[in-house]
């Protein structure tokens, strides 16, 4: 596969791809002959940049976009979100995940780290949409039968491990320290270690979680999680807002990664801004997530980048904090690296996960700086084509089955209204 005439930071180049990996990049003024075949994609001098890695979402919650907003957390969850989710069947989750994939691809994302139920539906949807996926065995066991959940986890692991798709990463996802029992957290830590698994959990989203953990366990949340072996180089901690200096140091020492979810944090009034400067100074790897559609309400990483960057400037009173280019790296390279994927740069030896941007769109005009334009200016209509591990998964804005996905999602939504 060759992507010819790609504008890479102003140098028009041909990108050579084999087995999903960039094998060479040659400036067109040094071009030898390219054999024009079906394996050549002409980028037509459009700008080409790395794709995005969404490190925390609940993808099928696209089905609940706009279903309930502007409510205090507890009635929002107990009166609206949970009763609606209780009506979802695996087929619904399949279509909700497809809608999520559609939205993510359209806005330049090639990987998502998902936390939701009906794992087989999620895998089927992401596979059909040709996306990379970290998919979790997700559990909440407060008030449930822990032994039954353990059996399910074992079964799920066996089933998913047998899937022959290198684009799918299996993770274990205890929902949060306040929704999972000590017994199950302990089992999770051992299970993750035995099978060398990635771990995905919510950590320190609210002050209440911090206060309750100290009161109930005599430990701060990060230390409590660590006590079960759940803080490793393969751990992704969603939110991580209410962490103190000791916890940030512990996370850095363990080599764990945080997923910043700025829109969700603001919309749900978590009461504090993620402390990027401290994370950076402590060498914690920071990545970006959209969270699910009921607390965002979209999966557009470009929009989340704008919120991330200007929330830092605002909350920490420094207009130079988290520059556009730095923010772009957080949303691309850092997210990939956290999951052991060599992507987020368009260089020889890196995976071919990248975007061909639309040209001549008003929101990237005049076009002084592509990072600034993507982080601060664009909406959701700036991506022309998307490559995921060398495969063209959106060509000139078109994704197969788009109308069918939207139509199914609308049909499913009717069950929440009645």
């Amino acid at each position: 596969m060759i992507v010819k005439n790609a504008d890479l930071n102003g140098v028009i180049s041909d990108i050579f791809i084999k087995d999903g990996i960039i094998t060479d990049i040659v400036a067109v003024d040094k071009r030898s002959n390219i054999v024009d075949s079906e394996n050549v994609f002409d980028a037509e001098n459009k700008k080409v940049v790395p794709s995005f890695f969404n490190t925390h979402t609940h993808s099928a919650m696209t089905l609940l976009r706009g279903y309930a907003d502007d409510m205090p957390l507890n009635p929002w969850l107990s009166e609206k979100i949970w009763p609606a989710e209780a009506k979802l069947v695996p087929e619904d989750v399949y279509w909700g995940t497809k809608l999520a994939c559609l939205e993510m691809i359209k806005t330049g994302t090639t990987f998502f780290n998902d936390m939701y139920w009906c794992i087989d539906s999620i895998i089927k949807a992401a596979t059909e949409m040709n996306m990379r996926l970290a998919v979790s065995a997700t559990f909440i066991d407060i008030g449930k039968d822990t032994d039954k959940l353990i059996k399910e986890l074992d079964d799920t692991y066996e089933r998913v491990s047998a899937i022959d798709n290198p684009n799918i990463i299996f993770t274990i996802a205890p929902h949060a320290i306040y929704t999972v029992s000590e017994k199950m957290l302990k089992y999770s830590g051992k299970f993750a270690k035995d099978h060398d698994l990635f771990i995905h959990t919510h950590l320190s989203e609210t002050k209440k979680e911090y206060d309750d953990c100290l009161r109930d366990h005599g430990m701060k949340p990060a230390f409590y999680l660590d006590s079960f072996g759940l803080l490793t180089e393969k751990t992704m901690l969603a939110h991580s807002v209410w962490l103190d200096d000791d916890e940030i140091k512990l996370i850095a020492d363990r080599g764990a990664t945080v997923s910043h979810n700025p829109i969700s944090n603001m919309k749900l009034s978590v009461g504090k801004a993620f402390d990027y400067r401290k994370m950076k100074n402590a060498n914690v790897r920071v990545t970006l997530g959209t969270d699910g559609c009921s607390s965002n309400n979209n999966l557009n990483m470009a929009e989340s980048m704008k919120f991330a960057s200007i929330l830092q400037k605002f909350a920490y009173n420094d207009p130079a904090l988290m520059s556009a280019e730095e923010c772009f790296k957080i949303a691309s390279f850092n997210g990939a690296e956290a999951f052991g994927i060599k992507a987020g740069k368009i260089e020889k030896g890196y995976d071919a996960d990248f975007l061909v941007l639309k040209s001549n769109i008003y929101d990237m005009t005049p076009g002084f700086n592509v990072y600034s334009d993507i982080v601060y200016s664009v909406g959701n209509n700036f991506v022309d084509s998307v490559f995921c591990k060398g495969k063209l998964i959106m060509e000139h804005g078109k994704i197969e089955g788009e109308d069918e996905i939207i139509s199914h999602a609308k049909k499913i939504s009717k069950k929440f209204i009645s």
Copy 2:
């Protein structure tokens, strides 16, 4: 003109328009015959909502989108923005304003309150793009010849008053209390009163402005402005972040309006969130502005709505504050009302300023609540067609001259790089 098959909150209706005003709305199930003619636009059952009124921008700064970001305020202005602006000639401002209009129409805005130089270029651009415009004689006279500016103001007023276009409102715009002399502020107040003009100024964007005003004039900024007769029912105060309770009460008493610019405030680290709850409780009319492209970096009111709403939730720790529907009204009805325009509702007797939304787009799927979808979910690709005072100014996403505008803006930008 008839807009048939418009989905108005779930009721498919025909909207009858004469001389720019909605004369009747009839549900299609009560439809008598419509004569199909060139004056019928078929909304094809798409949702129709009011358009947006952008109450503070510097439109031609589209030309500087992405030119300089992530810098502290003073070097950003003195080393980047001002030297670049010094290179702009009226022809550049014309194209920059056209680019701004293009972007605003595409994202559903039919009116903008502009503050920039080269007023004739701005009027020409907005007129050609069929937009409503409040255009200002803008001045900064610290270090300049005030008498010369007064003469220019008189001349500009005469010239603009003579233009026969009801879509253009002339305003007087002393830039800010810290950039305009007392002599000129006094003249402005009298001039506005003599000619019954709208007044447009920046007020209390930063704490420094508040502190300096107290120190230099022994008055808080709103009181200082009021002392010149510049706080009236026709005054639009951009930013209004650092106001204390007495100032908010004064603004309410005078019937002046504030323009909240959340993205600019956050990006430039003004250090405090606009206090919506206090404004609301004091019955101050709150409207929404994008500010210019060098501090935002776009003119998309839908994005500004999302920032406005969730910044309130975050900063004041209340997830129910500024609901989607309330935020939508701020961006539409309130902005129109502030300028004496009867719009922002789709009702008999109101001006026909409205949007036909795209149907079957992922970011409005499933589609539970149109206000939530517009405020929290959409990007910049949700508007199918735009009506401004009864005139169809964008039809199915197409605006005449789009490519030419983008090409000119790119050409002009070259002068900032050399």
